[in-house]
């Protein structure tokens, strides 16, 4: 410290100023607050849900939560186990998972194709973008009566409904990703004389991947949401049907089992998307890390 302080050759004020500056610097706390969100917490995304679970357990144990309104967690676990043991939960879970997976797959494919058509050509955009934006403003729930009339009450209707919900976020975010690729890269591709395929494969699609993954996270959530809706309308199997039935007989614990299952499945699938995203987009370091 002292080495830094130079002896002023003339004039009285400098020493005082030096002291001020030095003390001003010293009084700054060593662990100075950074402007970013700071270091990432390992498994940090689990803290919020675990806290919620803690409140539920604590509240039930203390008797603050009436079991008729919200079943205690241990009862839920017990009920889930009973349902599983008696072979009622497994098949319903499987049916729901299948609907989720199929709806998600078709929705993602359709959203991707539409986004690429619309993102890469002005004509494609002119034709595709409007209808997708219109669909975006119509809730799936409102479309349901029509879909029922068109496709009946079987699996086809359910998967189409889920796919329609998934398509929107995939389209919006992938399209946005494609359109926001820096024009300078197109210029570079021209000077490197890339052909159309190489331009697409090396520049455009990888550049739109961050957008696609953002859409994917919305899509997964949307897929579960649509599943809830279709399973409570004219279904004869699935978790939603199980909950609907339980509601009729006032079995709160089974309803909660269904909700917890939805929550767990949603959390797990979002985590999977995040992990894949992190791996695929390892070239990108953002505030997220």
């Amino acid at each position: 410290m002292t080495a830094v302080e130079t002896k002023p050759a003339r004039g009285a004020p400098p020493p005082l100023k030096h002291d001020e500056a030095a003390s001003g610097r010293a009084s700054r706390p060593r662990g100075k607050r950074r402007l970013g969100p700071g270091k990432s917490i390992p498994l940090g995304y689990l803290i919020g849900p675990l806290l919620l679970l803690g409140v539920w357990i604590w509240g039930s144990a203390q008797g603050w939560i009436d079991p008729r309104i919200l079943t205690a967690p241990w009862t839920v676990v017990e009920t889930a186990w009973d349902l599983w043991e008696s072979g009622r939960l497994g098949p319903d879970l499987l049916v729901s998972a299948r609907r989720f997976a199929l709806g998600l797959t078709f929705g993602v494919l359709a959203g991707l194709v539409l986004a690429i058509v619309s993102g890469l050509s002005r004509w494609g955009e002119a034709v595709v973008d409007g209808p997708v934006q219109i669909k975006r403003s119509i809730p799936n729930l409102a479309l349901l009566p029509l879909l029922l009339l068109w496709f009946g009450i079987d699996e086809r209707m359910k998967i189409i409904t889920i796919a329609l919900g998934v398509l929107i976020p995939i389209y919006i975010h992938t399209h946005n990703g494609l359109r926001s690729i820096d024009g300078r890269y197109a210029e570079l591709a021209e000077t490197l004389r890339l052909n159309h395929a190489a331009f697409l494969g090396r520049v455009v699609l990888p550049g739109a991947l961050p957008g696609f993954f953002l859409g994917m996270r919305f899509a997964v959530t949307s897929s579960w949401l649509s599943l809830v809706v279709v399973e409570q309308v004219n279904a004869t199997s699935g978790i939603g049907y199980m909950m609907l039935l339980a509601g009729t007989y006032g079995q709160t614990d089974i309803i909660i089992v269904g909700l917890v299952l939805y929550a767990l499945l949603g959390l797990v699938s979002d985590t999977v998307v995040r992990i894949v995203q992190r791996r695929v987009l390892s070239w990108r370091r953002t505030l997220e890390d």
Binding site: R184, E190, T191, L192, R202, R285
Partner: protein, 254 residues
């Protein structure tokens, strides 16, 4: 150049531009009646104030000026490479893939490695662009240009975004690469010293055409403290409209 029967002119020059006009709006042309010839293997630097049309000329040669309107004849070789002011590396491709992008053939990767070694980046093939410093990124961009074995290298202020020390190192590297591969080079810059250090011929662009042309025939490593260097610099600064004593003094102090 040889004139054949029938008036057909077989050109041996790397670049031949005649009567080039370019404008973006109707009122003021950026380039007006520009003529320029660059011989194969010749290193030409293009100086000019902002808005003098340096970049417009380079972009015309690179075929990147669809947004401009104009007339004139441009002849460029088959194989042209461009180095931009920003390295323009694709952030989602590793360094080697950035170098060999668009190249086909079984030995593309080997050639890419060779080019990276030439710019002093052997061993960094698997790095992501954002892990490199600005100077290193620009060296990757150089490797990407060289691996295509250009007959003409167009460089648009390639070192403009680098710090002074890195820039000096890059001058040495570019000159060494040029000596080895001997492409024709058109270097657009606003740095007078950079132009004199690197080029065989310096052009000054003003109001849309080449106003001054100066051959730099200093032999050996070019040293800015050499009085002949200073002489060329004074001449070029005057051509750039900085003949007033004050500006020149400032330039020399810097």
């Amino acid at each position: 150049m040889a004139t054949h029967a029938g008036g057909l002119t077989a050109t041996t020059a790397a670049v031949r531009i005649s009567g080039l006009h370019r404008s973006f709006t109707d009122d003021r042309p950026v380039l007006s009646g520009l003529d320029l010839t660059i011989e194969p293997g010749e290193f030409v630097a293009l100086l000019g104030r902002s808005g003098s049309g340096k970049s417009t000329l380079l972009r015309a040669l690179a075929g990147l000026d669809q947004d401009a309107s104009g007339t004139g004849d441009i002849e460029v070789p088959e194989q042209v490479s461009v180095v931009f002011q920003d390295s323009r590396l694709l952030p989602w491709q590793r360094v080697l893939r950035n170098v060999v992008i668009g190249l086909n053939g079984p030995n593309a990767k080997a050639r890419g490695r060779e080019a990276l070694a030439e710019v002093g980046l052997a061993g960094r093939e698997r790095a992501w662009p954002r892990e490199l410093s600005g100077g290193e990124q620009q060296r990757v961009a150089l490797a990407r240009s060289l691996v295509r074995e250009p007959q003409l290298l167009l460089a648009d202020e390639p070192f403009g975004a680098l710090d002074a020390l890195t820039r000096i190192k890059m001058h040495g590297l570019l000159r060494a690469l040029y000596e080895r591969h001997k492409p024709a080079v058109l270097l657009v810059t606003h740095d007078v010293d950079e132009a004199i250090v690197l080029a065989d011929r310096v052009l000054v662009l003003d109001s849309g055409h080449v106003r001054t042309e100066r051959r730099v025939d200093l032999d050996g490593p070019r040293d800015p403290s050499d009085p002949r260097f200073a002489e060329v610099r004074t001449e070029l600064l005057a051509a750039l409209g900085l003949a007033g004593g004050a500006e020149i003094k400032k330039e020399e102090e810097a």
